[in-house]
């Protein structure tokens, strides 16, 4: 494959590119969805193509092709340079790239069982066993399941000498129980909303044991129909691990993207309250809040060996002891805030898209508040909310409102009755400054988010978020139902 990339680099240079990188990706995927006891969707896809990104006349250009003949690749390089030269007509300053070593490397994501070697029968058996259990619970009106497997074989080369091959396997799984009556629709999903995704093989499906959790979520979905509404007010609240993962995604991950902070995404995804002048100055959270962007976390969905412009994976602090410290960055934005090197966060959905700054694994480092039961016991009176149901945040990432599938009342230090339609809201830095307890590392999970949207055209990206349950004092809850 590298010979095809070399051809692209050489052709781009001939057409006038001063920099070029090319990515060739071969992908195979399988998606199985079940609805009750039927296969609602069985889809397999293969996909191969090359994206060529160049700088010419000081501007960026990108073109892609699914034809990999010599002629098609040269034509694609020509188009990329033509597009870059058009960009050059409306540039104030030429694009500058932060230095990065020329890498010659191979990287393979960790996995034990190649999911493409597991039979369809075995996969369906898992989903059907879970569906049968969910449907055996009186009141369940719809039982759904999903398994997804994606293998990417990615080859990268640039005109500075990098030659990198990366192979990764993404695996996702979920089940969902729905209960409806005339007045209400309730659902519970497992392991989390949208499904849990990891950079792993079929062993992760076995680990999460979908059939083993089917009865519990089915019972909860039915119980939610008759449960009391979550109250309104200012309440000490423990946010569960998977919900906190999404909270981190929206209120720390996105605002720390340097392209947003520089106004480059303001037309669609929005900007950020974390402007460069706040770096090292803003108290983002309480002393115990430490957030990292870690592209090296083994098995986490946002990990890789090298990003899509050939920068090696890194682990950097975004927030240290509550202070805003760093950004997710790229080679062409690093110098704009005085960084010598990119943080390695440029990623593209496929060969058909130019890379943009994306989250890797944005994680809250564990604390020392013991287990979830310890934290509930320590809280005395309050709420425990878990599993995302809806999420919304303003275009600067200040005001957010989340709702979760379920909440439990905490009374006398114990988990009490189930409450329906829980929601909470706040202003990002105020919220993180009320965090006074974070559970220990044994309670942490790195939650994979497979559906992060950004860019024009919209690109979907897979990111990871390590989190253990944490407590937030006097959180505003229930305003959605006001």
């Amino acid at each position: 494959m590298f010979d095809l990339l070399e051809l692209a680099l050489e052709a781009a240079k001939q057409f006038g590119a001063t920099y070029c990188d090319a990515r060739l990706i071969e992908q195979e995927s399988e998606l199985i969805q079940t609805k009750n006891l039927a296969v609602a969707l069985f889809n397999r896809a293969d996909n191969i193509g090359m994206g060529i990104r160049v700088i010419a006349d000081g501007g960026w250009g990108f073109a892609s092709t699914q034809k990999l003949s010599k002629k098609a690749i040269i034509e694609c390089a020509r188009r990329a340079v033509e597009v870059a030269k058009a960009s050059g007509t409306v540039m104030k300053n030429p694009v500058l790239l932060a230095a990065e070593p020329a890498w010659n490397a191979t990287w393979i994501s960790p996995h034990l069982i190649d999911p493409f070697t597991v039979s369809i029968d075995d996969k369906l058996e898992v989903l059907m066993a879970a569906a049968k259990t969910m449907l055996s619970v009186k009141g369940v009106t719809l039982a759904q399941g999903m398994l997804q497997f994606i293998r990417d074989d990615k080859f990268f080369a640039n005109s500075e000498g990098s030659r990198v091959r990366q192979t990764s396997i993404r695996t996702g799984c979920m089940i969902e129980a729905n209960a409806s009556n005339n007045e209400d629709r309730q659902r519970r999903s497992y392991p989390c909303a949208f499904g849990q995704y990891e950079l792993a093989g079929y062993e992760m499906v076995q680990k999460w044991d979908l059939p083993g959790h089917a009865e519990e979520i089915a019972n909860e979905a039915v119980a939610l129909l008759t449960a009391p509404l979550c109250p309104q007010g200012q309440v000490d609240t423990i946010i569960g691990s998977s919900q906190l993962g999404l909270q981190i995604h929206e209120s720390m991950g996105h605002p720390s993207e340097l392209d947003r902070a520089l106004g480059q995404e303001i037309n669609f995804a929005g900007a950020s309250f974390l402007t460069p002048d706040q770096r090292g100055q803003l108290r983002y959270g309480s002393e115990i809040v430490n957030l990292v962007a870690d592209a090296t976390a083994p098995g986490a969905l946002g990990s890789f060996g090298f990003d899509d412009e050939g920068v090696a994976a890194q682990c950097t602090y975004l927030v240290r002891s509550g202070m805003f410290e760093g950004y997710l960055s790229s080679r062409d934005t690093a110098h704009l805030i005085g960084l010598e090197r990119s943080g390695g966060a440029m990623r593209a959905e496929s060969w058909n898209f130019a890379p943009i700054i994306r989250m890797t694994n944005i994680s809250l480092l564990p604390g020392n508040s013991g287990t979830l039961d310890d934290l509930i016991s320590d809280t005395g009176t309050g709420l425990y909310m878990e599993t995302n149901k809806s999420w919304s945040i303003d275009s600067m990432r200040y005001n957010f409102q989340f709702s979760t599938e379920i909440a439990w009342e905490i009374k006398n230090g114990k988990r009490g009755r189930i409450l329906k339609n829980p929601s909470y809201s706040g202003i990002t830095p105020v919220f993180w400054n009320t965090c006074d307890a974070i559970c220990q590392s044994s309670e942490a999970t790195n939650w994979g988010t497979p559906n992060c949207g950004k860019g024009q055209p919209m690109q979907t990206m897979w990111t990871g978020h390590g989190a253990s349950p944490a407590r937030f004092r006097k959180l505003t809850v229930g305003i959605a139902q006001s």
Partner: protein
Amino acid sequence: MLNESQCRKIIDAAIAHALSFSTKKKPIEAEVSISGSNLATSRFANNEMTQNQAPDYNVVAVRLIRDGRQARLETLDLSERGIERLVESAFEAVRLLEADKDILPLASIKELETNQKDKKKENQQEKAKNLGKEKNKEKEKNKAGDKSSDVAKQRFDSATAELTALDRAKEVGKIIKQAEEQNVSSAGVYCSGEYYTSIGNSNGLFNFHRESAAACSITITADGATSWVLEHAPKAKEVKAEVLAERAISKAKQARKPEDLPPGKYLAILEPAAVIDLLTYLWWDFSATSHIDKLSCLLDKVGEKVFGDNITVTDDVTNIHQCGSPFDGEGVQRQVVTLVENGVIKNLVHSRLSAKKMQTKTTGHSMAQPSAMGEMPLNIVIEGGISSIEDMMKQVQGDQEAVLLTRVWYVREVDPATKLLTGMTRDGTFLVKNGAIVKPVKNLRFNVSLLELLNNVIALGPSVRAAGAEGIEVPAVVPAMMVKDFNFTEGTRF
């Protein structure tokens, strides 16, 4: 981009190869669909180009049905051998799956012709019932239904499809020049190109549709305040970058120095972009599958009055302002369907599968099958009124206050039963008093039930093609709306 004859050739070859595996005992049915796009996107921010992409792709999907089993496989390999491999892989996959009694045979031309005749008959009966009532409207609808393919074909403009990167850069250059002259910062996107979709099956069905598109959206930042505009059309000459930039610059200047507004229930004037991004959460609830699965907020409400008298909604691919393919994911022609008439829920949209389960006929709204979602009305047209935004503002008098919303952002469903949505205002939110804007206000979070909102509409503007913030490829034809009791629950810091 592939043309009609290239698509037909690939589809015929794939079907022929699939049928070579067919036996008398276990016959095979094959459906092949191809789609592709070369929509190119030039992005700019801080008054310069930041990203410029010219992608290109074609994807082929094969759905095989054999012995009560079905599988769908996709590939980008359009070579003869690539297509053969795809069919062979689908054949292997379909053998491994369990039989499902719900799987239908593929659509046939005969079935679709019968369906069309039945639909015409139903329309005539309906017309007879409503004789004298809405005579002209029904006549127009039936006429449009007959001409669906013709209307859709008019959506291709070769000049738009052939715009170059330099053409797009020139449009971007005009916007940047205006922004620099006014000392403001511009960001946005100009995109252009074409896309197509084609489908054929072993029962002889074949359809092809291609369409051109141009879109320009602009965000202007002036002293920290922002504004936003978007225009989307099948023809680039209808997308006037300079006019859009002028409008955006003017609004951004008006939005400077916003003040806090206390949360509460207000009269709200929603520009069309805000209307589309809110109401888009309601459309799947008209999908028959959402009723079969007991997920819709409109369960058991067909025939009932759910919304205000002034709410009438159709799904109409033939509308001159609409876009998209005139056939659905099974190759069935999309019917014009009245979803809501004067507040009464009139119809759901169907695929062939949901139609069978509910003992009716498909309306041609199937997603690519198999699909867990089932169907979707993709060509929404909301009947408008005669009030301009200025007229609506003039209605705000005395002690009244209204909030004018340019667009909404990050709208999500909080409660599916009541269709409670939350979201934020964005890019130009203003307080209106005594018939005019009195000041810009900081953005607000809202929590609003669509079931309530569509009973609270007190004025409608003319329906226009509009696209929302989160999906510029899927416009709808919607009016501006003035609504009462719009529930703002919190503010933010800008």
